[in-house]
Amino acid sequence: MTTPSDARTAVLARIRASIGVTGKEPLRRAAVADRLAGRPRGVIPETARVEGAARLAAFAEKVVTTMASFEAVATAAEVPMAVAAYLAGRNLPAEIRHGADPRLASLPWSGTMLAVSTGRSDGRDPVGVSHAEAGIAETGSVVLVSGPDNPTTLNFLPETHVVVVDAADIVGGLEDAMARIRARFGAGVMPRTVNFVTGPSRSADIEQKLLYGAHGPKRLHVIMVGVGDGGG
């Protein structure tokens, strides 16, 4: 049986033989290094280049087209009441779970009747609440990053997912979201998981009919906080 390094050598050698190179050619190595360092942006659609208040409006509109629900509140302090009202309005359990994110932990949850617990999900929580890293106006997506602040299991196990996003963190397009992550974690460094979530879970595997709540959340509610300058 080939050793792991044999297999590696063999595969790379076969690739090099097919292309007709040794792998040591300086021009090729420079081309690769340049692209990885320069990270050129390609074609950025107009829908990814909206600015200011129009960008926030585009985000709100897009979120709704993905079959998630959307609301805007002026200040973070209003979030707990908004969550409580959302759950009550749909006859959903008044209990939520969130991570260690200080932007959620510091909110006045005690002003509501919600039962609040913290930590990752073990599958028994009906409602998960996360704070997004960013929102993307081009697609109506929210960007969630793994870690103790917003455990990834909260994004997938509970039946209902509520995501809080700051208006100042709504970016134009996909590349802008990637740049945000790079700025936070450093070039070439990533957290374990980044989720771009665009609407609730769905499947069309039964006669191509669209159904919601396949394995992930059946419903997604996005709460945008504040009216940011929409820049960045």
């Binding site: 292309i19 007709g20 990270r39 990752r120 994004n155 374990r192 771009f196 499947s203 191509q208 396949a214």
Partner: protein, 473 residues
């Protein structure tokens, strides 16, 4: 996966005679095709993005060795482990070894065509480890002992009543009088059953739509969330991906992401686009403790530098499959292996060998719809023709077929002789058919006249004769 592509002609007859399949295939016309059209029309920059995507992929293929090295270094730096697999057997052994070391009894799986290609499920099961398909479509076919019939919608060949019958047959712990009339009830039942399997799994295996060299990241795009539950709950996450999935940077992957979901399902983005890098970090409350990436060659390196290199640009969107009139008539199983439709007709001979795959490239009219809708502008008809040329060169066709082709080629190379012969044939047929104007049966043309009439030609006039006479515009 065992290959039945040599029995393509038999498979086709079965498929055409299958009323359930024919009914199910009607969904392609009303779903994937118009949805893709709408999504593409709504994005003015789509053509420009296609050009960009082609440029990025061509650049990667020209530097694949270096990008793989860069990718591997980043995965290792993030605490993951990269394994190279030269072929299917090597990949199966690597994955089995990882599962054994993890003392796994069950492995949940996100949808992965590459895992079908290497025959992973049978191998795990034969070694006492239970693979559990979690993508709803994959689950539906796993319980039937079938293979996927489409790379995006693996159960597209099934009707609701077939699915209900399977669930009643298998899920015997549930009350027999429950209603499964509504598709939502079927979905809810699958969700409940698979939820426990997710939580109990020791190892989770996913494919990868992209591997990003800049960061050592694997990316999956899904709608259900099963790929995510597969990779965040178990202790070990294994990614199986073929070597050409590499993309240089996060910006590059953003470009191609805009093409992928639109071309596949007509969505702008799938519900979940997930970027995974390494195992959980210190302090993470969830996520796998081990992260492995198995990089599969299995014939791709041989396609580099060949006339089939462009096929390595494929991002597995399935648009070519959805638009192919042949696929639409026979469905995916008839092709006999993992990949159906136009992309499967190019890949099967390349990966499984021309001896087994040679019939597939012959089932094409070269209508070109596949190439027209391919986001990566892969010249599929040209490559199908290359395979036919190779088939002829390697004497793989039966002797009578080769002789017939050689005979035709003799005349085709001598236009005056060709025209003299066809003028004679047109004269004979025109005379014989002058009463009815058409033939419903014609010796030596049974393949044609079995399904349609042959119009009687104008007596003694070939097409070029009529053209010169100005009769045909």
């Amino acid at each position: 996966m065992e290959i039945s592509s040599p029995q393509f002609k038999h498979n086709i007859d079965e498929a055409l005679a299958d009323p359930n399949l024919q009914r199910a295939l009607g969904n392609v016309d009303v779903g994937f095709v118009p949805n893709r059209r709408k999504a593409v029309d709504a994005l003015p920059e789509f053509e420009a993005l296609r050009e960009e995507g082609v440029a990025i992929k061509n650049h990667v293929l020209a530097h694949l060795d270096l990008y793989l090295e860069a990718y591997e270094a980043k995965v290792t730096a993030a605490g993951g482990k990269v394994h190279y697999a030269e072929d299917a057997a090597a990949a199966r052994d690597i994955i089995l070894d990882i599962c054994r070391k993890a003392e796994a009894s069950t492995v949940t799986k996100g949808k992965s065509m590459v895992s079908e290609e290497i025959g992973l499920n049978e191998h795990l099961a034969a070694n006492g480890i239970e693979p559990v398909e979690t993508d709803l479509g994959e689950y539906l076919i796993q319980i039937r002992g079938e293979h996927p019939s489409h790379i995006i919608a693996p159960a597209i060949h099934l009707n609701r009543d077939e699915i209900e019958a399977d669930f009643r047959r298998l899920h015997t712990h549930l009350p027999a009088d429950r209603s499964l009339e509504e598709p939502s009830a079927i979905l809810a039942e699958a969700r409940g059953i698979l939820r426990q399997r997710f939580l109990d799994a020791d190892v989770g295996l996913t494919g990868a739509n992209f591997l990003v060299a800049e960061t050592g990241t694997s990316i999956i795009v899904t709608n259900e969330g099963n790929g995510d539950l597969t990779q965040i709950l178990p202790r070990v996450h294994v990614v199986i991906a073929s070597i050409e999935k590499i993309v240089p940077t996060l910006e590059d992957v953003s470009q191609i992401l805009r093409l992928l979901a639109r071309s596949a399902t007509g969505q702008q983005m799938t519900v979940y686009t997930t970027l995974s890098t390494g195992p959980r970090r210190p302090g993470d409350p969830d996520g796998p403790e081990e992260y492995h990436v198995v990089l599969l060659d299995n014939g791709r390196s041989a396609m580099l530098g060949s006339e089939f290199q462009d096929m390595l640009r494929c991002i597995r969107c399935g648009a070519c499959i959805n638009h192919c009139p042949i696929y639409r008539a026979i469905g995916g199983h008839a092709y006999g292996w993992v990949y159906p439709g136009p992309m499967g007709s190019v890949l099967t001979p390349a990966l499984a060998g021309l001896e087994d795959g040679r019939h597939l490239p012959n089932a094409s009219t070269f209508c070109g719809r596949c190439e027209a809708v391919c986001p990566m502008k892969i010249p599929l008809p040209k490559m199908l023709r290359h395979w036919r040329e190779r088939e002829f060169e390697r004497h793989l066709q039966p002797a009578t077929q080769r002789s017939a082709l050689k005979l035709w080629a003799f005349f085709a190379r001598r236009p005056l002789l060709y025209q003299a012969l066809t003028r004679m044939a047109a004269g004979v047929l025109g005379t014989l058919g002058r009463g009815r104007g058409r033939f419903s049966r014609l010796p030596l043309a049974g393949g044609w006249t079995r399904f349609r009439d042959l119009p009687a030609p104008e007596r003694g006039r070939t097409f070029t004769d009529q053209w010169r006479a100005g009769r045909r515009a």
